[in-house]
């Protein structure tokens, strides 16, 4: 066959258009929906300790999510975003990484953060915007961040973290750190320009980054297939940008874990960026401000309930004999009590002092911010009843 030497292309003489069927990417599944392994397939290299830690984190996150949705309904917090149904995607992938790998999340990866060791008290401090919150009460609930745990602070704008992950990983590569960055986002965010910029640049620069797309079927109310995209999901885009790509069952803890483990090896040892598309389903609304009954059916939700990642893994663990029903229940009850206790405690802790308002805009507050703060405090002193949270905490010594 003839070849174009400049572009190394095969030459054809009859017009032929390719369509989406030219690249249909299969889905890796190891653990079936019934909690048993596919025939002839071995469970990935996950020892008992790790498996129990993963399951423990799954249980904790499910309790936290359910309890905090209720707390929002009771008016105790303003807002909440649940990861219900997607626990395997974030926890299974985080479990395959090292503690010094950077995590850049969207806002549905509380499981990864819990796996890293963020405590129930730290979760509550952020959710209640109290003075112990690492983010100093400045962002809406669920916008967690923790430098010690290498978990980049969450921001609301979608997809902005994706090119940032490419840049972060570039620095890791240049430092010869032997670490990588994982970046989570949804299939909706993958429509943003930042996604395309990020994948292209990562492939061009060959940086150690793992892009993890949680394809959970919906962007708020917009269904993925046919309305978010017309092609075969997100995975083919990775191939088009020239990077290693895999699609996994996002509700299968083993598929997620194994794919991420292999991706990390490619990223760190060969500077190959990787795209993982985890197929899953957002069991709850987009947030507590959303009601899914307006755009999807109960039957559809039930069909996914049967694929539940936590129940699936629990079945496998029970069959393996690594947990038993009684211990699992006791563990669940203990976690639930800890969540309730932390909630009650955190909501009593006061908000950060008003002086924090002008900190961290710059490394030190410039003159005009100090002046604006003094003017604000004078105003609060004049009308203390209008600002009860702050007025009582201004000391008399301030001007």
């Amino acid at each position: 066959m003839a070849k174009d030497t400049k572009h190394q292309l095969e030459i054809v003489t009859k017009p032929a258009f390719l369509d989406a069927s030219a690249l249909k990417i299969p889905m890796l599944q190891i653990l079936k929906e019934d909690g048993t392994l596919h025939k002839g397939v071995k469970a990935p290299d996950m020892d008992k300790n790790l498996a129990l830690k993963v399951f423990d984190t799954m249980q904790f996150i499910r309790i936290l999510d359910e309890r905090m949705i209720a707390a929002q309904r009771q008016g105790r917090i303003s807002f909440y975003l649940s990861s219900l149904g997607e626990e395997a995607a974030s926890i299974g992938s985080a479990a395959a990484l090292q503690a010094d790998d950077m995590i850049m999340g969207q806002y549905r990866e509380q499981g990864a953060l819990a796996f890293r060791g963020f405590t129930v008290e730290q979760f509550m401090d952020q959710l209640f915007s109290n003075e112990r919150d690492l983010g100093k009460g400045r962002q809406m609930p669920v916008h967690y961040g923790c430098k010690d745990l290498n978990f980049m602070t969450i921001a609301s704008p979608l997809a902005t973290q994706i090119p940032q992950a490419t840049g972060y990983a570039y620095g890791q590569k240049m430092d010869k750190s032997g670490t990588c960055t994982i970046c989570y986002f949804g299939e909706g965010a993958a429509s943003e320009g930042d996604f395309h910029a990020a994948l292209n640049m990562a492939a061009v620069y060959k940086v150690p980054v793992i892009f993890f797309c949680r394809n959970n079927g919906y962007a708020i109310s917009t269904p993925s297939q046919g309305e978010q995209y017309a092609g075969d999901g997100i995975a083919p885009r990775g191939v088009a940008y020239g990077m290693k790509t895999i699609r996994v069952d996002g509700n299968d803890i083993f598929a997620v874990y194994q794919a991420t483990q292999l991706a990390r090896k490619l990223a760190v040892e060969e500077n190959e960026p990787v795209l993982i598309e985890g197929m899953s389903y957002r069991m709850a609304g987009h947030s507590t401000s959303d009601d899914p009954t307006g755009y999807r059916t109960r039957e559809e939700e039930d069909s996914w309930r049967a694929k539940d990642p936590v129940a699936r893994f629990q079945k496998w663990l029970l069959a393996k004999g690594w947990i038993n029903e009684d211990d699992a229940q006791a563990n669940y009850d203990e976690k639930k009590a800890a969540v309730l206790a932390a909630l009650k405690e955190a909501e009593k802790v006061p908000a950060p002092h008003i002086d924090e308002l002008i900190e961290d805009v710059y490394d030190t507050p410039p003159k005009h911010l100090k002046q604006q703060l003094e003017e604000l405090k004078a105003h609060i002193r004049k009308y203390p009843d209008a600002y009860p949270k702050t007025a009582s905490r201004l000391n008399g010594g301030d001007k």
Binding site: A155, P163, G167, D194
Partner: protein, 325 residues
């Protein structure tokens, strides 16, 4: 000291910064071994290698997203946007990400190592999309610093300060002066304070405030005013965020008159901010209304650039009007 034009001064600052720390990276469209469309990054790839000074794909939002990530990792990211007119795809990354990175994380993370270099301004027959002065859009964003040098000496010292400043800095380079402005510049490292205005010329009758390339027009107007017996004090703001209210107010206490001039369109430009603040600070000292001499509220034109351009004659007329109010 050496004679350098503004581009050579910037190139010298980049070379010194990259020598000083191997965590300094320079990148942008065509900025690799080619050295950028204006040649500001010439020679850097040869000296520091293609991993320290490199090309990016053609995607401004990606350049800034990448730069934010690299800076958050602890590196010094010096990102070039080829023209200020093309910075808008990166607006979200700058305004929602760079500017808020430290604040939103409670100082867990920051992008203090970020510097965005971009040429701005008119007078080069660049039409709509190679002439704009977009500083005011960014000056509305807490968390950024915005620096605009007027000559090679200022450019080098300010760029070195910007790169190592612990905050994200938007460094806007007056492209009309890239080769036109030549001056004595120390070959070694030196820094200039960010946020401090520079009194370019002392005077007693009228204060003229400008920044970047427009300082040249302010000085020329002051020359013409001097011929008419009017003594102008010319202040280069140097940095518009934060800006040095004190130096301008001190001058206006003395002169009682203020003319603010900018290349950008009149409405909601940074000159309006200067005027509003100074009328509050100096109200009882003012002898005439504060005047703004700015571009028209139109897109930047091509064939009528000479008429549109905020030249020294327009600034002089405002000075004259202020004196005769």
């Amino acid at each position: 000291m050496a004679k350098m034009n503004l581009l050579q001064a910037i190139n010298s600052a980049l070379e010194i910064a990259m020598t000083k720390s191997d965590k300094v990276y320079s990148f942008g469209e065509d900025t690799g071994s080619f050295g950028g469309v204006f040649r500001a990054t010439s020679g850097l790839t040869e000296k520091f290698g293609k991993h320290r000074n490199f090309n990016t794909p053609l995607v401004e939002q990606g350049i800034l997203g990448f730069a934010n990530g690299l800076a958050s990792q602890g590196s010094y990211a010096v990102a070039e946007i080829q023209f200020g007119d093309y910075i808008f795809p990166a607006f979200d990354q700058i305004v929602n990400e760079s500017a808020k990175f430290r604040y939103r994380s409670g100082n867990e993370f920051d992008v203090g190592g970020l510097t965005i270099r971009t040429p701005y301004g008119g007078g080069i027959a660049g039409g709509h999309y190679h002439s704009q002065s977009p500083e005011a859009y960014f000056a509305h964003t807490p968390g950024l610093k915005i620096v605009m040098p007027r000559n090679p000496y200022m450019a080098k010292g300010l760029l070195l300060s910007s790169i190592f400043d612990p905050n994200p800095v938007l460094f806007m380079e007056p492209k009309r002066l890239y080769r036109a402005s030549v001056g004595e510049v120390p070959e070694e490292e030196y820094t200039l304070e960010l946020g401090k205005a520079d009194v370019v010329r002392e005077g007693s009758d009228v204060t003229i405030v400008a920044w970047g390339a427009q300082v040249e027009m302010a000085e020329k107007a002051a020359d013409k005013a001097a011929e008419a017996g009017i003594s102008c004090e010319v202040i280069d703001l140097v940095s518009i965020l934060p800006w040095d209210v004190e130096t301008v107010a001190k001058s206006v206490f003395k002169t009682g008159r203020l003319v603010v001039t900018q290349e950008a369109p009149l409405t909601n430009g940074f000159a309006s901010e200067v005027a509003a603040t100074i009328q509050q600070e100096c109200f009882l000292y003012l002898e005439s209304p504060i005047m703004r001499v700015c571009g028209l509220d139109t897109p930047y034109p091509l064939c009528h650039e000479k008429e549109y351009f905020v030249d020294h004659l327009k600034v002089y007329e405002a000075v004259h009007a202020s004196m005769n109010y």
